[in-house]
Symmetry: C7
Subunit: 94 residues, 7 copies
């Protein structure tokens, strides 16, 4: 199992669904837009200057929105993940 | 529903109204000016170095002014939004 | 009404008076010099790391001096304003 | 023995295993991906602004994931190690 | 009257005296050297992270030394001044 | 005697030993690798934001590892030393 | 008298002595090396975030070592001095 360190969060990226018009698959025209993913693991959080630790603002299972170019790609047991800092997550989708 | 994280605020951008002179629609001559929008969701705020959280200075429903080039565009359920950091909001319009 | 956020201050810029020599209007030869304006609204101030808020150092009605290239231009109800951060104001003119 | 200072961690890098297809060794096609290694020594941690020391978030024996281009290569007694700052470690592999 | 804001100090710059050799005025050969001036007004000082205000380290009437290229030039009632941040003042001349 | 200031440490650099193969001296093939040296003096340490001083993490007599390009070379009484900031020391060799 | 402000220290630079070999004056071959000087005045020190002031780590009369390219040259009453920030002083020579 991968356990992210610090304020990192591991996300399983959701493939952007291609739009189809009358059965014809169209490449997404929004390649630069943020992407969504599912949180699979969260770190213990960053340590403040007073020594306290702040847990990341998302939890395992959350669907999150993040900027396309943030994070580091990681391969683990044949699956590809993205490791992001908590501050690079933009929003949670309820 | 989109829930912004940290000090982020989600805004529905208001289209700049084109000016008309005698019924003729004129393209806005102020394309570089700040834009306005309506706040649709606010995050819980940023965490200070002492561990306390500061709520964003605007609330849902506020009409806000922001710099045209700040924020990240987000598509959600067919609607386009802008995600801004609280500090990038310039003013509230009462 | 425009209410500036954080440590922002809204200023109505004073037009630099053109100098006249013997009735002939001369373009100002000091275009790069700081400008003056009248404060029309002030924000609640910035939040310190200990969570306290520091009010801007000027108040509504003050005539202030600021660097020509600081601030963001804002149009509101046919009037043009400048939004400045409190720290970019150089001096108050009594 | 090498004792890392501050928030540094010394890691013995694991060679990326080459994939074989039908007995033919293939060079890894993921040269830019993060690498893994085994922690052989950890420093006492960084000193916070309040004077307290925060121990690194990993311990001797942990298998860690880190970005390929972080860290400093060190040769010691014929063995090659990598010295990394704790914050550059991405995840622990359980 | 000009009242500087924050940690700013307003200085009346002293013209560098030209050296004369046998009655011949020589342009100063030290144009890049720091300049001196007289403090005509000081701000209330900068606000620390704990909310306290630190008064500038000089007072009205002091003769100060400052780096030639620091500060902002200001014209006020026909007189030219320099507005400097307290930290850009190098020394006081007793 | 040279007494380093702040968080500085003075180190006597150890010459990288040239490898010999069958009596032939070979130039080191690891010129970019970190170097080792012996600590000859340590400063009183850096002052934290709360006013406390943190002693450097090494002591006189320690053999230390440091990055080749860090530090300032100093000649004193015919001997060459390197002055390094405590944070640039990578590890202690026991 | 020149009184340095903040964490500044005023130093009278010592001319690097030229080496002589058999009576022939040789230009120093170590022009890039740190220089030494004598402290002639020290400021009251920098103000910490908690409002306390930290006195510079050297005192009047100390012989100090500093990096050749740090500091600002100042002429005062026919004598040339160097104004340095306390943190740019490398070591004290006892």
């Amino acid at each position: 199992m991968l356990k992210p360190l610090g304020d990192r969060v591991i996300v399983e990226v959701e493939e952007a669904k291609e739009k189809t018009v009358g059965g014809i698959v169209l490449a997404s025209n929004a390649k630069e837009k943020p992407q969504t993913g599912k949180v699979v693991a969260v770190g213990d959080g960053r340590v403040l200057d007073n020594g306290k630790q702040v847990a990341p603002s998302v939890k395992k299972g959350d669907t999150v929105l993040f900027d396309k170019y943030s994070g580091t790609s990681v391969d683990y047991e044949g699956q590809s993940y993205l490791v992001l800092h908590d501050k690079d997550l933009v929003a949670v989708i309820d």
